[in-house]
């Protein structure tokens, strides 16, 4: 399991590990924007929630607006307003779709804007807007695999809105996001190391250098710690434990992995339930419990019948169990899954990206 660049997105951008890469791609020209932000904001405020998607079609449109110029954008934003916060998150989301290089910079500026509104707690409405901003912004960062920036973001939130006094602006998913961000960082490291399993020794001369291996292990240990901490929150417990189980598995701690996954049984989120079943299959594989693996993969297939990863796991488990007829059928089923079939494994590292559209829809609905 190594790095997969985000589907349809540039691997080089994903590999920038945060906003650092943005510094090198800022536009050098100072051409006046063809269309400023004011008309877009006006339309948006009037209820035209499609104006951003309709107007910003390519990264060139973002360039024309000079949105990498943080100080310029700071000046335009001015004093705190909920509508500008919402509008800004629309820009972030749109950038993720058509101008991914702008996401990191826009989130950085937006976070600064939100923090500058003053202390939380004075207005429930403002707190709700800030909470929404953090949630969606971090969700988009996950979508872009900007793990390092997620960690920085959550650290800044801790510093500026320390708990428990600022609980109103903290969504439980932000705790989980810290673990997901760290998973993303580890995954990048993973790919660099060409180290498919942290403790694997199969590569021979091509094996990961010990220093890089150690770095990868420490990275995953940190992820595991973050995820275990996130599991303290009821709202994200099952997903946090599921992810913690996978992290423990990658560290070769199969019994810990099994315990974490066994403790994540209550998720109503079908995607999380799939991940859990899939990981339980892998852990059972590693423990030599092929019958348990078969059961786990069957559950994953039941949840997402077109998920090829689960079907491969099932075929391999049956194969090891010498159930030749069933394995043969499972192989054919795995090979013949629908090309457009949903396999949530493929979006595991995208974290909360799967919720962003829904959160934005709820935000727009609330604005009406």
């Amino acid at each position: 399991m190594t790095l997969r660049p985000p589907a349809g997105r540039s691997a080089s951008v994903a590999a920038c590990l945060g906003a650092l890469c943005l510094l090198s791609i800022a536009p050098s020209g100072s051409a006046a924007p063809q269309q400023g932000l004011d008309p877009l904001l006006t339309a948006y405020t009037a209820g035209d929630h499609e104006v951003v998607a309709r107007s910003l079609l390519t990264s060139n449109d973002f360039r024309k607006l000079r949105l990498l110029d943080g100080r310029r954008l700071d000046r335009w934003l001015g004093p705190w307003s909920i509508v500008k916060t919402d509008f800004l998150i629309e820009l972030v989301d749109r950038a993720s779709a058509v101008a991914p290089a702008y996401v990191g910079a826009l989130v950085t500026t937006g976070q600064r804007y939100v923090f500058n509104r003053g202390p939380a707690g004075a207005s429930a409405q403002d707190d709700a807007a800030e909470r929404r901003w953090h949630l969606i912004a971090v969700g988009v960062l996950q979508q872009r695999l900007l793990g390092a920036q997620i960690l920085g973001y959550v650290d800044a939130l801790h510093a500026r809105r320390p708990l428990p006094a600022n609980a109103g602006v903290w969504d439980p998913r932000i705790h989980l996001a810290r673990g997901i961000g760290q998973e993303q960082v580890c995954r990048m490291l993973h790919a660099t190391a060409r180290n498919d399993r942290l403790l694997s020794e199969f590569e021979g001369k091509a094996a990961t250098p010990p220093a890089v291996r150690q770095m990868a292990i420490e990275c995953m240990q940190t992820a595991l710690r973050f995820l275990e901490n996130a599991a303290a929150s009821d709202a994200v417990r099952d997903e946090a434990r599921t992810r913690a189980g996978f992290a423990a598995f990658q560290l070769g701690r199969n019994d810990d992995a099994r315990a974490a996954l066994d403790g994540a049984t209550g998720s109503a989120d079908r995607t999380v339930a799939y991940w859990r079943a899939l990981f339980l299959g892998r852990v059972s594989d590693a423990l030599g419990a092929d019958a348990d693996a078969e059961r786990a993969y069957r559950e994953a297939v039941r949840l997402f019948p077109d998920a090829q990863t689960a079907r491969i796991g099932l075929a391999l488990a049956l194969f090891r169990l010498h159930q030749d007829d069933d394995a043969g059928e499972a192989v054919l089923a795995a090979r013949r899954v629908r090309a457009d079939g949903v396999d949530p494994w493929e979006t595991y590292f995208d974290g909360d990206a799967r919720f962003v559209a829904g959160w934005l829809a709820a935000m727009r609905k609330a604005r009406k």
């Binding site: 660049p5 394995a327 090309a339």
Partner: protein, 286 residues
């Protein structure tokens, strides 16, 4: 009743047990084991060997080889292409031509199937007798799931009357698999197919560091890793590989002095000469 499956090309069986061709059975309390072996002196296949020439050790215990016969059974060939982004369109076309030559070299009783993979694995040509039209098509999805695809491609059903060979053409890079080398290794230990890996050389990206993945699979299954330049010689090389595969022997023995089930480590040699012997590293007894 116990059953053992140990073959480089097909699952083990005694000739007398061929009445139920898809389901090998093992009788009378003695476990019949069949091992496919290739013997070479340099590049030259050695013909004419008899049971007395072979020394076979099963988990360290010497076995009495009851029969040796040339490999004459029809074969099932599984062709697995890497069509991921690291393979250019031109390289893919060369793959296709090489695979088409392999398909053309098959006998009427043989069968062939074609699979491709990038982020996912898909069946391009289902198992059928030749002639076939070898086609390649890229998937929309990004990524390269080498471990997932090759592990799945090694899932085989033991067959009595056929031998099985899997040819994998890939640079062995991976960036998208859920499964890993552990899974690959276990699949290699379980498969009844011989796996030949074809690693292209002379690519812009040095893929030699990934060769160990394919080497491991080939070694465990009794196949080998073939390095080939991206040119017309790849087809010739594959046809020679297929011929080499057909020039082997099928060794039979009734397992003695070794408990089953579990993993059985095999060692095959020809004591009287310094030949190169290729046979699978072992097998799982049921």
């Amino acid at each position: 009743m116990k059953g053992l499956c140990a073959a480089a090309f097909a699952c083990a069986v005694l000739a007398a047990q061929a009445q139920e061709p898809q389901r090998p059975t093992f009788r009378s309390g003695s476990d019949a084991v069949t091992v496919d072996v290739s013997v070479f002196d340099g590049q030259r296949a050695i013909p004419g060997l008899t049971a007395a020439d072979f020394d076979v050790r099963d988990n360290g215990a010497r076995q009495t080889v009851s029969s040796v016969r040339p490999n004459t059974l029809p074969i099932d060939v599984r062709l697995l292409f890497d069509t991921s982004g690291s393979i250019t369109q031109e390289e893919l076309e060369r793959y296709r031509r090489a695979m088409a030559r392999v398909a053309e070299a098959l006998h009427p009783d043989d069968r062939v199937e074609v699979l491709t993979f990038s982020g996912r694995i898909s069946e391009v040509v289902p198992l059928q007798h030749p002639p076939i039209k070898v086609i390649t098509e890229r998937q929309d999805r990004d990524g390269t799931s080498f471990f997932d695809a090759v592990s799945l491609a090694m899932v085989t059903r033991p067959l009595v009357e056929r031998r099985q060979i899997t040819i994998v053409l890939t640079d062995a890079q991976d960036n998208d698999s859920f499964f890993d080398k552990d899974t690959l290794y276990e699949s290699a230990r379980h498969t009844s197919a011989v796996v030949y890996g074809v690693l292209p050389t002379g690519m812009a990206d040095d893929v030699s560091r990934f060769a160990t993945r394919l080497e491991m699979v080939a070694r465990v299954t009794g196949g080998r890793l073939v390095r080939s330049k991206w040119d017309g010689r790849m087809g010739d090389l594959l046809i020679r590989t297929l011929a080499e595969f057909r020039q082997g022997y099928v060794l039979n023995y009734a397992l003695e002095g070794v408990p089953t089930p579990g993993w059985h480590k095999l060692t095959v040699s020809v004591p009287r000469a310094k030949y190169t012997i290729r046979a699978r590293e072992g097998y799982f007894a049921r």
